[in-house]
């Protein structure tokens, strides 16, 4: 039988770095072949320890993680990977968060709550079916694209730094800062619009004061573009040409809308 005609493989490989962590050689080979069929090249690890080591060596985009493996289980391996990501967050060595898809057998010892608690992002049933695998990968890539979009609006290093301020037993400072920012920023934008529209002797100081305050709070939360726009508004106001500020305030409102969406996602976890 001709294997090339009844088993066509994609001619190009998609630029996604995938690791398959699976102890059963049969399941591992089938998963690698399925990935190849879908156009992905992948590396393989035979247990949890190897998966943790492989992740330290190479910045994988996605890990397909078997939950129960000899030695370090998939749960423990995920926990170690997430810990390392957390430790490196905010440093020059920080990489992007790897998306971990649990390969579960749906038994008592292999449940989804446990996967989520360990830090896994998606699930797929074993034995893995091609269509289910493709759907899980597309979902992972869409999630990562959304995260990338979010990173363009909010600096992830700043958020990671704020997360590190968390004290056990106390409310999350990131959530508190986000709530405060989302309450105050619309009022500051309104103050600027109102001040410029009135164009009286208080307009300049009110615009300056609101722009400075918003620049500071946006910067504290890593909303770089919004902070830069407020800086422009500040500079323009300082030149006494308030008529140039409305388009900038409009852009700041549009950016704030993106910032709000991003912060709500961050807060929602």
């Amino acid at each position: 039988m001709n294997t090339t005609t009844d088993n066509p493989q994609p001619s190009t490989t998609k630029p996604v770095r995938i690791l398959v962590a699976e102890d059963s050689p049969l399941n591992q080979q089938v998963a690698l072949k399925q990935l190849e069929k879908l156009g992905y090249a992948a590396d393989a690890a035979g247990d949890g320890d190897q998966a943790v080591q492989a992740h330290a060596r190479k910045p994988y985009d996605i890990i397909l993680m078997d939950c129960q493996m000899p030695g370090i289980s998939g749960y423990e391996a995920t926990w170690q990977i997430r810990n390392r990501e957390q430790e490196k967050a905010g440093t020059a060595d920080a990489g992007k968060r790897v998306y971990i898809i649990a390969m579960t057998a749906n038994t008592q010892a292999d449940n989804r709550e446990k996967c989520t608690a360990a830090g896994m992002d998606g699930f797929i049933n074993k034995p893995v079916q091609l269509a289910e695998l493709e759907a899980a990968l597309l979902h992972a890539l869409a999630d990562q694209a959304a995260a990338k979009e979010l990173d363009a609006v909010i600096d992830p290093v700043i958020i990671a730094g704020l997360h590190q301020l968390r004290t056990p037993g106390k409310p999350d400072p990131v959530a508190e800062l986000i709530d405060l920012f989302l309450r105050e920023a619309p009022a500051q934008l309104d103050t600027m619009s109102d001040a410029v529209a009135k164009n009286d002797f208080t307009s300049l100081s009110r615009t300056l004061s609101a722009a400075t305050a918003l620049k500071g709070s946006a910067g504290n939360l890593g909303a770089r573009n919004l902070a830069a726009l407020c800086d422009e508004i500040e500079l323009t106001a300082k030149t006494w040409i308030l008529s140039d500020t409305p388009p900038l305030i409009e852009r700041a409102r549009e950016e704030f809308s993106r910032v709000r969406t991003a912060l709500e996602r961050i807060k929602g976890g």
């Binding site: 039988m1 294997t3 090339t4 009844d6 088993n7 102890d23 059963s24 050689p25 049969l26 399941n27 080979q29 089938v30 072949k33 399925q34 069929k37 129960q68 000899p70 057998a105 038994t107 008592q108 010892a109 074993k126 034995p127 079916q129 091609l130």
Partner: protein, 122 residues
């Protein structure tokens, strides 16, 4: 009530579609060697009264068996694992006996499939 079929011929077709005959034969061989190793480990663990080790040996057999369509092996491996985890040694042992027979049967089934896929030279 109808007994579930011991084999799912669709699994072999899926493997063929995925990787062609050479790959399918390799997976069938791998099931024979890896599955045999796990059955041996399971029996040793059961004889030593090591129920966690018995569960660990039975666990990977489930999905490996599923990949080659050995449905009965898959079901029995799941039961051995479950009983072992629940510390029901007698039930786990009884299912392990059945699992050994089902595995031997699965190997015969796969041997027949092997002949179909790669007929011996005349």
């Amino acid at each position: 009530m109808n007994e579930p079929k011991p084999f799912d011929p669709g699994a072999i077709e899926r493997l063929l579609k995925l990787g062609g005959p050479k790959f399918t034969l390799e997976m069938m061989d791998l099931f024979g060697s890896y599955g045999g190793k796990k059955i041996t480990e399971a029996r040793s663990a059961q004889q030593a009264g090591q129920l966690p080790a018995l569960a660990e040996a039975a666990h990977p057999l489930k999905s490996s068996a599923g990949n080659v369509g050995a449905v009965r092996v898959q079901e029995l491996a799941a039961q051995v694992e479950l009983f072992a985890r629940e510390q029901k040694a007698e039930m786990a042992g009884a299912r392990l006996n059945e699992l050994e027979s089902a595995f031997a049967e699965a190997k015969l089934f796969l041997e027949a499939e092997r002949t179909r896929l790669a007929p011996p030279p005349a």
